[in-house]
Symmetry: C2
Subunit: 297 residues, 2 copies
């Protein structure tokens, strides 16, 4: 197991921790939480969900040219991915102006459809969409070492959850195939749903933005457990990792460092605080360049 | 299995449905949801959680006599359980005035403590509290036939969830012992939590009142599945039962009818609409008097 991990201090820290957990922590408390974008799969040049949403926004702009004057429709119609990537990077740097315009567009893009219809849209997207530079379907953009880690943890009695800022119902249709994680163990951002006549339909109201200090709140809400392993890669994961660290049991905090421009991407934007805390707080940093023998299966 | 169920049309309907589900429904979609109060355990003369909260409110009134002039502290200090029961009955009949006073008291009773401290309070309550008339601890007030049904469903590949109007974090410390249902499969009402310094603490802000049309929303939010079996006993369960009925798979809706004044309680208040819908919509009604050979183990 963990074949895609190079031998070294990171792999040893994982194996040592899992051994300690098996000895010291009851099986039902061996809960592990994983951020998704940039932790379990590639998040560059833009979030996969943005590609899904940009396609919807471009379709809407094509159907209603008056929309195309304004953001985010203008950028979607022009294929201007940079505008979307900037919205997220600026959010992590404290400027939410672009993200708000984006969120408004996102919230109206999938409104008043049933949860089943939404899942069908997501499945249709993943059936054909490919990563723009890696030359593979998005469904093959999961990190092989992290998928191996999920299986290794399961083999040692852990239960794995995804805890992502990404859309809960965008991830659910594909997490079983990508990661072996079923929909009931996917925690993410969500829009409000409304029940009527036997069905649930999407609204334009945001429900949770599952990021930063909201991640621990949602982990408890969903599981009633404090995790003993938390893995992330950005400033939005800091509180989740610290929540795992402050429990009574041994714990492990994993931070993925994107430092491999050849096989993946090399960036620290949006992760500055997390990388700093990793050194001062004793988290385990996973270097893609140095610790992973293989990045993608 | 199902030894506490008398032979008859209700037991047959359950066994027939489970057989059909095993044949027709993939195992990971065999999701069953159960209301708690009045469905899995006794809810009369008042919700168990009210006893827990009344004790806290009485302690607060004793510590601060100025509180004791107003509701709900006045009723708590006087041991006036009727006032609390009325608050809930009136809610189901459309009058929320008492429930609002009660909710304000409840929300302030457990504020600014960690989730772990709250769980310890709940465990301390259940370690000593007894049902006021049945002569048994609350932890022995689960309905034997329903607990057998949970085991029967599990043996047939189902996954069971509790979906209750009761407090999520009030139920979680005891559902494993009572029902074999772990904390991550308990869906209930909740107060907002706030993360700081590695811990989660309770606030005075309500988060979800998990009742009526909110139940299907929360089932989807937590599981990403539409259940195929839903069991309840009150008007607050109508939408959850209908949600299960409107799926593509065979489904079963169980409504517990409280008609046994000798062994449990005999009442229809708060269940009037549900009992009416059961006959017009084809739900399966479970009569405590007629269908259960044993009520409590």
């Amino acid at each position: 197991m963990l074949e895609s991990w190079k031998d070294g201090p990171t792999k040893s820290a994982i194996v040592d921790f899992v051994g300690r957990a098996v000895t010291d922590v009851p099986a039902d408390e061996r809960v592990a939480v994983f951020d998704n974008d940039g932790t379990l799969w590639c998040e560059k040049p833009a979030y996969v969900q943005l590609d899904f949403l940009i396609r919807l926004l471009a379709e809407q702009a094509a159907a209603d040219p008056s929309l195309a004057e304004n953001q985010p429709y203008k950028a979607a119609a022009a294929g201007d991915l940079t505008w979307f990537g900037d919205a997220v990077t600026k959010h992590y740097q404290g400027d939410d102006s672009q993200l708000k315009a984006l969120a408004a567009g996102i919230l109206s893009a999938n409104t008043a459809i049933t949860t089943e219809e939404h899942a069908a849209r997501v499945r249709a997207f993943f059936a054909e969409a490919e990563h723009p530079t890696l030359g593979r379907p998005y469904t093959a953009c999961g990190y092989a070492p992290m998928v191996e880690l999920l299986r290794y943890l399961e083999a040692n009695g852990f239960t794995n959850y995804i805890v992502s800022g990404g859309g809960r119902d965008f991830m659910r249709p594909v997490t079983a195939a990508l990661y072996g994680i079923p929909p009931e163990r996917v925690i993410g951002s969500s829009v409000g749903l409304i029940y009527a006549d036997g069905d649930l339909r999407t609204t334009t109201q945001p429900e949770f933005l599952n990021d930063g200090p909201i991640k621990p709140v949602r982990i408890w809400g969903r599981t009633g457990r404090r995790p003993i392993l938390a893995a992330g890669n950005s400033n939005g994961d800091i509180e989740m990792l610290e929540y795992a660290r402050h429990g009574a049991h041994p714990s492990l905090q994993l931070l993925v460092r994107h430092d491999d421009a050849v096989r993946e991407f090399d960036y620290t934007a949006g992760a500055e605080k997390a990388l700093e805390l990793a050194t001062t707080t004793g988290w385990t940093v996973t270097s893609i360049r140095d610790d992973w023998a293989t990045v993608f299966a």
